[in-house]
Symmetry: C2
Subunit: 404 residues, 2 copies
């Protein structure tokens, strides 16, 4: 008789965004006339830019001709894309990363979820609190987090590093060093960012303690301030302790196109075993590459035209972010983020819980956001709004919230 | 100090196709003039058909317009595709499968590798021998197979079900029932297929013993004989015990496009926990959908034009298969498969090992095939040739082999 993976049963309720979707759909059922504005899930709304569309059409045409048709992609991804990444994302920033350390994937979510497979189940993980739920959930599924306490909203074996207004959203070093440290920078959902010195501090801490940092830089293209690193490899020693996960979803609007990559430097090794080789083995065994046409689209992001066009799209979202942030501040809200990330992180008024404020906003303003507590216990009394809507929708939402 | 997943270290050497690639590239280095014909890896060579190309271009254009742009896909995949699958792959064959039991993915390899996550590490798996290496390797990575014995080529905790000329390539029921049974039908690499009665026998066996069948039907569109099931759900009771994995790679030439799906019926449950819900949770947590444009391409496979065109492509490969099989038989080889699958499975002459025959064919005929022993110990003294080359290449390879 087969036995299921009982770790799945430990996961409480559904995934955050599924719960929101259910609540919204129930509201729509009873209020079919409601004109909802969704600033909840971090999904882009701008169409793909012309340079990417051209690259997609061109690659589709190649697939129509037997002389240019492409079957299985190379395990790590096409060299044209890996080289463009190395050149633009790393060399230009002074980071020493080579193409055989770059692994193309179908997105940062898959990589964030799968990377934990390289580690034994006896590792202790640490996460910022609040944070993107996939880090913990994927570890729970593998049996790594102990048990969930409904009262505290915490897993018994996870090290939580609160990021709140009290500490300026800068996580503190745990007294006992965890084995694996997840850092999302700029952070989702708080929209705040650690500067280069602070990230260097984490690299130093990891090297001193033999920890691995899993650095999620999905939002790096939204950084507007100097002094915030775009890659952890801008820090000295990061090649020995840090894996970096990157996405095309937010910078190039690829949420429905699916493309990301992970960098695993060859310098990370335990007992002579290189994590880079383990990840290569995983790619070769349980994955078969991102589509050729999508990899060509990714290459176009780095072309002169493509880079200019995607920067303009990022600019559109950041204009929303600034307007939302300023408007909410004017309306008396306590607001964070929105400067180096497309997320506005507000403290709920009147001591409302995050879900109370979610319901309040849904019912009174017909605006959908994301409850901060869905990202971790320290997210309670916070609320996330994204800047990924259109400018019009963002401003309409703002007006409605101001009137509450 | 972090600890790696030591199960990875148990895996012997590299993945089969990586080893072949290295050998071929070494040969080319010393013989730059050699005109190699590759009938090794199961990769398609025909371009995408016009109906699929049109669908891709159309979907790319939608992504260029903000009114038709698509961001994140629904967790299970778009309904238009899941409905087309249910209608064409299941209802038309009398199988009772609903759209919310179909999970769209980036390919059968990912699903084959990931599906084991739903089960505890104490399950015993059974595989046909020889078989697609991903089934075992993905279980080894999770710590499920015990230890590898270099002498026998077997894992201590895996139940091997030999499929050889002696038993007509029909696996026998293990005396002690395994928990999870992988069946690939038609089978890769042998190219042989179980008929409906034989598959029904496995369904009955699984139900009686509380086992789960993971049924890989990646090659179902190559079936030419009546009496061979295209889906395990043609068998009575399969909804209670069988998960089916399907691919667009081989029927529609999607090896570089990436699309597949897995069916997990709601009737499979252990202690009230439905595997379907667990798989939905995995999809929601560690995956973010196949690209919209690729899902539209998948839909086109089921259109009237698309279905006709992909059937013609399958016909091209099967013409190769028949010609290769007949030609090799004429030349005195002992040949199997090639009737319901695009694989020719030959017994090596002169008691050569599989790898000896690989080297012999590479050096003397400049033809690249796949050593049978790479698919399991019972594959020793066998060799796989694929029908995925062009007709010209297949015939040139045949002529060279005949002259040996």
């Amino acid at each position: 008789m087969y036995k299921i993976n009982t770790n799945y049963q430990k996961l409480p309720g559904s995934y955050l965004f599924s719960t929101i979707a259910k609540k919204v759909s129930a509201y729509k059922e009873t209020n079919p006339e409601a004109d909802l504005i969704k600033l909840g899930i971090g999904d882009v709304t701008q169409p793909l830019v012309p340079a990417i569309i051209d690259a997609l059409h061109g690659a589709v045409d190649e697939m129509a001709d037997k002389d240019t048709f492409r079957g299985y992609a190379p395990d790590l991804g096409y060299e044209f894309l890996r080289n463009a990444i190395v050149e633009n994302d790393y060399k230009k920033r002074g980071c020493d990363i080579s193409a055989d350390e770059v692994f193309i994937s179908d997105g940062a979510k898959s990589d964030s979820g799968n990377i934990q497979e390289l580690f034994g189940t006896d590792n202790i993980i640490a996460v910022c609190d609040p944070v993107y739920p996939v880090y913990i959930d994927s570890n729970v599924m593998a049996g790594r987090c102990g048990n969930y306490d409904e009262k505290t909203g915490k897993w018994s074996d996870v090290v939580y590093m609160p990021c709140t207004r009290e500490n300026g959203f800068v996580p503190e070093y745990p007294a006992k060093a965890p084995d694996i440290i997840y850092l999302c920078n700029p952070n989702n959902p708080t929209g705040t960012a650690l500067n280069l010195d602070e990230v260097q501090g984490w690299v130093d801490y990891a090297r001193k303690n033999g920890s691995i940092i899993i650095y999620d830089a999905a939002y790096e293209s939204y950084i507007t301030e100097p002094g915030i690193p775009h890659s952890i490899y801008q820090c000295e020693g990061a090649r020995e302790c840090a894996i970096e996960i990157r996405s095309f979803s937010k910078n190039a609007g690829f949420t429905g196109v699916r493309l990301g990559f992970t960098v695993v430097p060859k310098d990370i090794a335990a007992g002579g075993v290189r994590l880079r080789d383990m990840w290569a083995r995983r790619h070769g065994t349980k994955f078969n590459g991102a589509p050729y046409i999508v990899q060509r689209a990714g290459e176009a992001v780095y072309s002169a035209e493509g880079a200019k066009q995607v920067a303009e799209e990022v600019g559109i979202y950041m204009k929303n972010a600034h307007a939302l942030k300023d408007g909410l501040k004017d309306a008396g809200y306590e607001v964070y983020g929105g400067v180096n990330a497309p997320y506005i992180w507000l403290h709920t008024p009147d001591d409302m819980t995050s879900w109370e404020f979610f319901d309040f906003l849904l019912e009174k303003a017909n605006v959908v956001g994301t409850p901060g507590s869905g990202f971790g216990p320290s997210g309670e009394h916070y609320f996330r709004l994204t800047a990924f809507g259109t400018y019009e929708d963002s401003m309409r939402a703002l007006e409605r919230i101001k009137k509450l």
